[in-house]
Symmetry: C2
């Protein structure tokens, strides 16, 4: 029996199953660093430590010991299914008959890094920058498509002493596709507890990153608040319809709200000269999404959109207006159809098709 075990990043995120399987094993095989991580658990066992890069040898050894009737644990950090030993073992196990394998999934580096950074994930990609087995051209293609798709991108194996080229390519891809100010979270497990940093891609340099780092690249909605990296998913926050908003949308539904700047309004321009006033009151209030610069007023339960001008930009209004008219049949729909409204907001923010929600 071979247990392919993910031990997580630390004892706290090791699973109960991993712990039990290790305890019940006769032989423990793994890369030295990971063996050290569980040293206190395996004092009475045969321990085979190997250097990095001997993956196939470790897998062969596990099979050999298993065929001798021993209960073997093959150790990966994180999750053995994510750039770990499961893949290696399956590459060669079909040489043999009757080798029983059980994979114990673990907390992978991207999940751990995210838990430390805040809540940066939504739909995401996980890409290793190691070009030991994977051509650079393949890595570059995956990066480009993932960034273009607006996926969050988790980066494994960002750099090593001898491998710096993939990191350069990575940085250039993010600069070119997402722009200078794209947010990147770095979790460095060289330290215990790990050190986390949030920076913009333009300020990310090689000396900030090492083999023990996991990077999380934000998408077009990701923001930093109170030192946490957050990608909003857009849950519905229920709220009353403000009386002034109600008045505005009654007129809107009657076709009485003009398109563009309303220079006749006594408050014009409340935000900036040239602003569009179609949505004098925000139909998405409170979105709770700081990616457009709104924030909660602490202790008051009030969402403050003073700094959000997105809703008054020509491009936003032109994307939103027609689909919004289709969604709203009566003013109450600002409450009852809030999910559809927030999806419309999201589609226009991300420049996707607002008619296909």
């Amino acid at each position: 029996m071979i247990n392919v075990i993910g031990i997580g990043q630390n004892r706290e995120n090791m699973t109960l199953g991993a712990l039990k399987a290790i305890e019940e094993s006769d032989v423990i095989i793994g890369y030295k660093k990971y063996i050290n991580q569980i040293h206190d658990l395996i004092q009475d066992k045969e321990i085979i430590q190997k250097g990095m890069g001997d993956e196939i040898f470790r897998a062969e050894l596990a099979i050999k010991k298993s065929l001798e009737g021993l209960n073997v644990s093959l150790i990966s950090s994180g999750d053995p299914g994510v750039f770990g030993m499961a893949n290696v073992l399956y590459q060669i196990v079909s040489k043999y008959d009757d080798v029983e394998i059980k994979v114990f999934p673990g907390v992978s580096a991207l999940n751990y890094a995210s838990s430390i950074l805040g809540a940066p994930l939504n739909d995401f990609a996980a890409i290793s920058l190691s070009n030991i087995l994977t051509p650079l051209s393949e890595i570059e293609k995956k990066l480009k498509y993932a960034l273009e798709a607006n996926l969050i991108v988790a980066i494994y194996n960002p750099i090593s002493k001898t491998r710096k080229e993939p990191f350069k390519i990575f940085k250039q891809c993010v600069l070119d596709i997402k722009g200078d100010d794209t947010l990147v979270g770095i979790v460095d497990s060289t330290f215990e507890p790990p050190k986390s940093t949030i920076t913009e891609i333009k300020d990310l340099t090689e000396d900030m990153v090492n083999m023990s780092c996991t990077l999380i690249v934000g998408n077009d909605l990701t923001y930093v608040l109170d030192n946490k990296l957050i990608t909003p998913r857009g849950y519905v926050i229920r709220s009353k319809i403000h009386e002034l908003s109600r008045n505005h949308y009654e007129k809107f539904l009657n076709g009485e709200i003009a398109h563009g700047p309303n220079r006749e309004c006594e408050f014009y321009p409340c935000h900036y000269e040239g602003q569009y006033c179609d949505f004098c009151y925000c139909p998405f209030y409170p979105c709770g999404d700081s990616s457009t610069c709104g924030t909660w007023i602490k202790g008051k339960n009030v969402w403050n959109c003073k700094d959000c001008t997105w809703l008054h930009e020509k491009e936003s209004v032109e994307c939103l207006r027609q689909p919004l008219e289709n969604i709203l049949e009566e003013v109450e729909d600002l409450k009852t159809k809030k999910k559809s409204l927030l999806k419309l907001r999201r589609a226009c923010l991300l420049k996707n098709n607002p008619n296909n929600l």
Copy 2:
């Protein structure tokens, strides 16, 4: 204090940290199904169970209880950072001062599903098909780019009784971009132990999938062997250079191997009429990668490439030949430069740039 806890998919893959935090909590808040999963651990605690869809309400409740000085656990299945409660909580916590949050990462559904299916992951994307908060146009775009990039694609929330449209779009994207025979692994956690199925996308129907399923879509290299879904990463398997191969590559290095079919060879055509013979012996042997139809002969430690014709196809040879000549300086390089050789093979297999390894 709010612990945002991922309890994994079952007790075996719950983490030690999650267990301890739950045990030390005063209040447990979560969706009913997840509360049931840990019922035996929380008999002495205040339990607040809520229905699906009340995420913001659950988060507000956790904050309220925490501000009362209680130790609260907010429960997610899998990993709370992957389509879980971490995101919801951070959307509203900045309303308040001094709420302490700790996220306990967990084994996410894609990691669990992969452990059951075999070793299907390499670089991957995780995409939720739920269009409750995310516009269909956004989901479709992410799917298309991830599939085009040749990422493995893990699908969360594939379908529900009322949401079938995203699943239709998903299936059509895979058919259009990857083709009829793209492999899909399905892990259905309605059953305990979960039921796993491996199928081709053309045979994937709505009745095979439900809300408790995670899907893993293979890439261009993914294969099925002994009922396991495997995506090869291409680890180097060391091997001697066969004498006949040595002879062939000595001639190759001397420029004595002609390009194209070798009709003068007494064995021609050993594979099929029209085959290219530039690589009479495989320079990648043994690749150990069944995606091109080679297999291990069980019990013999012999890699059998009888069914692999990829190396003899015109297109393959034209991609490989020049870069191979650049890599090989002497026959021994078939052993010593095997990593570069395998990367070249991979680049040509995936139709990426063979000169950028």
